[in-house]
């Protein structure tokens, strides 16, 4: 291309040809694909293989067994999982969406506190969370007994168990996804659209139903996906609340415990297929309409001026809701202060002391799990951070074929239950593989950080995607035009701007990793025992008070991390996703 005869005085300019744009995209893609194939696709395929490969030959025997009409338990579990997940989505939306509206649309004293408090269910460790729910709403729970005493009832007015119990716990823990996505969507909503609808004569409710809600579709779809997948995979709630109620995630667990690995793999594959189908259906649904037109001009963001007769009742509902949301945390705090053996048959605790904390402190091993959890979560999250940025950049800003496949692969770790992810990893990495540099990973320290990393890829990629999609391409071009190479551009311009978005996802990943239980319980070793396992063990020994004290440590720990990141990075946890 360069004509040597015409080289001018500023000769270097043309001779410095670097790799083409396509080549560069490929260069960025290589690590992404490598990681996804090694740690997401390969283990999943391994599970698939396990389900169709028996005694050295291909067979659909396991699937026949799954769908066989004689033993309906699998089909029953499938159906239960499915409808519980759908109902969980519905209920979570019913809590999360109104709260998001109340806290983002109305201004009242303490709004910021309540808005943050509303994400507290996220910091509740799953197991202990369910336990404290039992202590509140079980047949002999605090709330139940109080109501029973007040109204002099013979029988408990209600009890937390069965499908209703599962749904309540799911709604409680998962509405946060709706709350967070809808909150940030509301902030991005162009207020003039609602004004236009009002101006055309639509009343408050019509505007909400016909304009606001449809415009929130992308946020609702994202949240529905997360909730659906999480509840398909949910373990603690059905396990603890509905003894013997059949759901797919429990079936997997029992199959595995019974040593029926083929069946466990088959059940996992079917669960993944359902989750991924849901993902595809939701994407199709979202793709049918537009929710954003490229906006010309500025839209002024003004807080709605509102009728006090509507505002205050809503505010009261919101605040009451948050208090309800914090009750389990308060219960945990109370539990941790009740000395062992002093609250057994009594309705209310009678004595309080710091005994449990003191007992814990005396334990020489107490700090190790905390240190482990922090360290592993940090490692995994650092990985997520780097990988998330790279993947997200490639997905959003680069053009290449097969983007959709890559996108599904990124979501895969979330669409699989943690149990299955752990099982995949066991199946894939209990023999040496090239992906693990010829080492057996199972039983080593590294397996857990790796599991956390894999599982939380979607969280970071999602939130980074959102930030990157809002980033104007011309900023990158401007920097390049000013003479910056790609890497300089990335480091000095792109990264600082999308950092809050990345940090929000990273934070969520970190918080979830610190409390992770389901895959930890299958993969932990002596060297990397995390907090959640320690809590579980305290529970198993029925040291309820110490378990609660441990959980309080965990909550405080996560709280401190949230606080620090809020202070120093300006990351609002409520803005992630």
């Amino acid at each position: 291309m360069i004509n040597p005869a015409t080289k001018g005085p500023t000769e270097p300019i043309a001779s410095r040809r670097v790799i083409s744009d396509k080549g560069f995209t490929l260069l960025l893609l290589i690590p992404v694909i490598l990681v996804l194939v090694s740690y997401v696709l390969y283990p999943s395929l391994k599970t698939l293989a396990e389900s169709v490969w028996m005694k050295g030959e291909f067979t659909l025997e396991n699937y026949k067994r799954f769908f066989s009409p004689e033993s309906l338990s699998n089909l029953e579990a499938l159906w239960n999982s499915f409808y519980i997940s759908l109902l969980s989505v519905l209920l979570s939306a019913l809590i999360g969406v109104p709260l998001a509206f109340i806290f983002n649309r109305y201004d009242f004293p303490g709004r910021r506190f309540f808005a943050t408090a509303a994400i507290m269910p996220i910091v509740l460790p799953p197991l202990v969370g369910v336990m404290s729910f039992m202590f509140l709403y079980g047949e002999s729970g605090l709330v139940t007994r109080t109501i029973q005493d007040w109204f002099n009832m013979d029988e408990a007015p209600f009890k937390l168990s069965g499908v209703a119990g599962i749904l309540l716990v799911h709604a409680y823990t998962m509405y946060v996804y709706f709350y967070m996505t809808v909150s940030s969507a509301i902030k991005g909503l162009n207020p003039s659209l609602e004004e236009a609808a009002t101006n055309l004569g639509a009343g408050r409710w019509t505007v909400f139903r016909r304009v606001t809600l449809p415009l929130l579709t992308p946020a609702l779809v994202a949240a529905s996906l997360l909730v659906f997948m999480t509840s398909m995979a949910s373990f603690s709630a059905p396990f603890l609340l509905a003894g013997g109620f059949r759901v797919l995630s429990l079936q997997i667990y029992f199959s595995k415990i019974n040593g029926d690995l083929d069946m466990a793999a088959t059940q996992s594959v079917i669960l993944s297929v359902i989750s991924i189908s849901f993902l595809l259906v939701m994407r199709w649904y979202q793709g049918r309409r537009d929710y954003r037109v490229s906006e010309k001009g500025v839209s002024t963001h003004r807080r709605e001026v509102s009728n006090p007769w509507v505002k205050w009742p809503l505010v009261i509902v919101g605040v009451t809701g948050v208090v309800f949301l914090l009750l389990p945390h308060i219960t945990l705090a109370i539990l941790s202060l009740v000395p062992e053996g002093s609250w057994t048959y009594q309705t209310y605790p009678t004595r309080f002391s710091l005994e449990n904390y003191i007992l814990l402190m005396k334990d020489p091993h107490i700090w190790k799990p905390i240190r482990n959890s922090l360290w592993m979560a940090a490692l995994a999250t650092a990985g997520n951070f780097l990988f998330g940025i790279l993947t997200s950049y490639v997905l959003v800003k680069r053009k290449f074929r097969g983007k959709n496949v890559l996108d599904v692969m990124v979501m895969l770790p979330w669409s699989l239950p943690a149990t299955v992810v752990a099982m995949n990893m066991i199946l894939a990495f209990n023999v040496p593989t090239p992906f693990t540099f010829g080492k057996v990973l199972v039983g080593t320290f590294w397996i857990l950080p790796l599991a956390y990393f894999i599982r939380h890829i979607p969280l970071v990629v999602r939130s980074t995607n959102a930030a990157l999609e809002q980033l104007d391409d011309s900023l990158e071009e401007a920097a390049r035009n000013l003479g910056a190479r790609w890497f300089t551009t990335f480091r000095r311009v792109i990264l600082p701007i999308i950092l809050p978005g990345i940090m929000a996802g990273t934070l969520l990943a970190f918080v979830t990793a610190v409390g992770e239980f389901v895959s930890s319980v299958m993969l932990y070793t002596i060297d990397n025992r995390p907090i959640s396992i320690e809590i579980m063990n305290q529970l198993r020994m029925f040291n309820l008070g110490q378990a609660a004290a441990y959980a309080m440590y965990q909550i405080i720990l996560i709280g401190v991390v949230l606080l620090i990141s809020n202070r120093f990075f300006g990351v609002k946890a409520e803005n992630s996703l």
Partner: protein
């Protein structure tokens, strides 16, 4: 078919916290009138429009539609049709669904809705676009959908907030004509917000010029342009040369004023002329660039100056002329063969400021608030 409405704002003020966005506003907009709110960014035009639409309520004062107090009536009972600056089209609906929205909300029969939507789209020359998605339209087409959506409900009052500011010059011209002819044929009371004086002047029956939340002057385009009440209106509406002068002599039908070492005769007798007394008060001599003429030599009301900069804008040449005392005048000459090539950068020429084109405007401090 459409009920016309008179809009009256009486003593309307609106404050946001400490900021006073609109201040003691009195306006009457007559039935079927095309009324424009003109002013620089942040002067309270949008706020006024939003109060009329009912999106926010005045802090004090009352708003009347046909003598009926609507000050605190919620927007969906006001029966106004608004076209938003950014169109505010519903992205999740098709063009037809967007237009039909207001009718569906009014629970009209399906058949009538379909007919009226069709007709409204025809009116804005978008027949056959009904099934398109909003994102498949160009800016100009989107703007017309917004217009159709506002018109189809046959509102009593049409509110337009800078609907053309995002279009390119040609499309803007086209749309201007289109809106105007629609408004004229429907005869609907229209309030139009803009910061573009050409738009305001060329479309309106009457204009209210705003500055910092206050209405500076209300009048027909020619009144506003040719007889500005104060320096702000004079300089905001079109380009104007404002030269500070002192009054030397007041005659029966002429005033003589002095600026630097020049004397100018100014014709008196405009109805809005302010009582003048010799040597008293502080005044601006105002003349529009297009009123300045080339002259062959010195004479009454003529000045000598250097041509500093010539800009060709197609229809005309814009010149900056520097006088001996440093004053810079803007002058504008049509692109006609007799003018072509007659002016050159750096030349020294005589210019005439015809006495009937000169106007005296009181200098009230910053020239903006009165």
């Amino acid at each position: 078919m459409i009920g016309l409405s008179r809009v009256k704002l009486s003593q309307v003020s609106k404050t946001f916290g400490e900021v006073s966005a609109v201040n003691q506003l009195d306006l009457t907009i007559n039935e079927g009138e095309f009324f424009t709110l003109l002013g620089p960014s942040g002067c309270g035009k949008t706020t006024t429009l939003r109060m009329i639409a009912g999106f926010c309520y005045p802090t004090t004062g009352r708003i009347l539609f046909d003598d009926q107090d609507v000050t605190r009536v919620p927007p969906h009972y006001r029966d106004t049709g608004m076209v938003f600056q950014n169109y505010a089209l519903f992205p999740h609906m098709t063009v037809a669904e967007n237009v039909a929205f207001g009718l569906e909300v009014r629970k009209l029969p399906k058949k009538e809705i379909a007919e009226r939507v069709e007709q409204a789209l025809e009116q804005v020359r978008l027949g056959g676009f009904g099934e398109r998605r909003i994102s498949q339209l160009s800016g100009g087409q989107q703007q017309r959908v917004a217009l159709a959506r506002a018109l189809v409900i046959r509102p009593r009052i049409l509110l337009l907030d800078e609907p053309l500011s995002n279009l390119d010059a040609h499309l803007r011209d086209e749309m201007r004509t289109e809106i105007l002819s629609l408004q004229r044929s429907l005869g609907i009371t229209t309030i139009y917000v803009t910061h573009d004086q050409v738009e305001a002047l060329s479309m309106s029956d009457r204009i209210a010029v705003f500055s910092r939340g206050k209405c500076q002057q209300t009048g027909t385009p020619e009144e506003i342009y040719n007889h500005p009440k104060n320096a702000f209106v004079a300089s905001f509406v079109g380009e104007t040369n404002l030269v500070p002068v002192t009054v030397k002599e007041t005659g029966a039908d002429h005033v003589t004023v002095e600026s630097g070492n020049h004397l100018f005769r100014v014709k008196k007798g405009e109805p809005d002329a302010v009582p003048l007394r010799t040597g008293e008060g502080s005044w601006f001599l105002s003349i529009r660039p297009e009123a300045i003429r080339l002259a062959d030599g010195p004479g009454s009301n003529r000045v000598e100056g250097w041509v500093k900069l010539i800009q060709f804008t197609g229809t005309s040449y814009h010149c900056k002329v520097e006088l001996g005392d440093g004053t810079v005048l803007q002058a504008l000459f049509l692109n006609r063969p007799d003018m072509r090539g007659r002016l050159r950068d750096g030349e020294r020429r005589f210019f005439e400021l015809p006495e009937e084109q000169l106007r005296l405007i009181p200098n009230t401090g910053g020239g903006v608030d009165d």
